[in-house]
Symmetry: C2
Amino acid sequence: MTVTLHVCITCRAGETIPEGQPTPGARLRDAIVEAGVPSGVHLVPVECLSACSQGCSVALSAPGRWSYVYGRLSAVNAPDVVAGAAAYAAAPDGIVPWRTRPEIFRKQSLARIPPIPALPEAAE
Amino acid sequence: MTVTLHVCITCRAGETIPEGQPTPGARLRDAIVEAGVPSGVHLVPVECLSACSQGCSVALSAPGRWSYVYGRLSAVNAPDVVAGAAAYAAAPDGIVPWRTRPEIFRKQSLARIPPIPALPEAAE
């Protein structure tokens, strides 16, 4: 399944960024691109994942799957983000066995959200 | 639109819970039920939203909308959770004007995730 990897590119990670310099979030995005976005993963930059107190963050989501948000990341974590995203894409149900998740995914979870059910509309 | 309000009912909020006593998460769920689940909101208990260091948490989601996760909640916040969920359900696009969000939604966001795009599968 093709999954979406959202990366917050506006994250300043609590730093004061000189004008014209890339934010830590943008550097993380660039490092992920450099590490190589895996097949089946669609990289989408986003302005703010509302996890601003937790440093740079990314989210993994796909239709019918649990969504995951990870934080306290920086550009050095790009290879692990790529590996974790690839595993999420490859898992038939998006649930990657705990032990095979990158350490940053095991220890730096900010939240997960169950699959969004397609609910019937009220009759009214 | 009918939206889903997930409530983590296993949350212990860092407390030691005597056997047979409800967890803080279960108490939050019960308080939400008592406050009255609004029309258009589907309350779904969930075991762990992976935000365990942030006390009790809830998530709001619906097809085609941003998902939101809020934390550091307790049963006393139930009326505000209900009000915020009702506003999310009532907003045509799920985006509630900032000033009209309950304070806990403005100050206790753990994360938000953009709408999940339905991506075409790879041709292979």
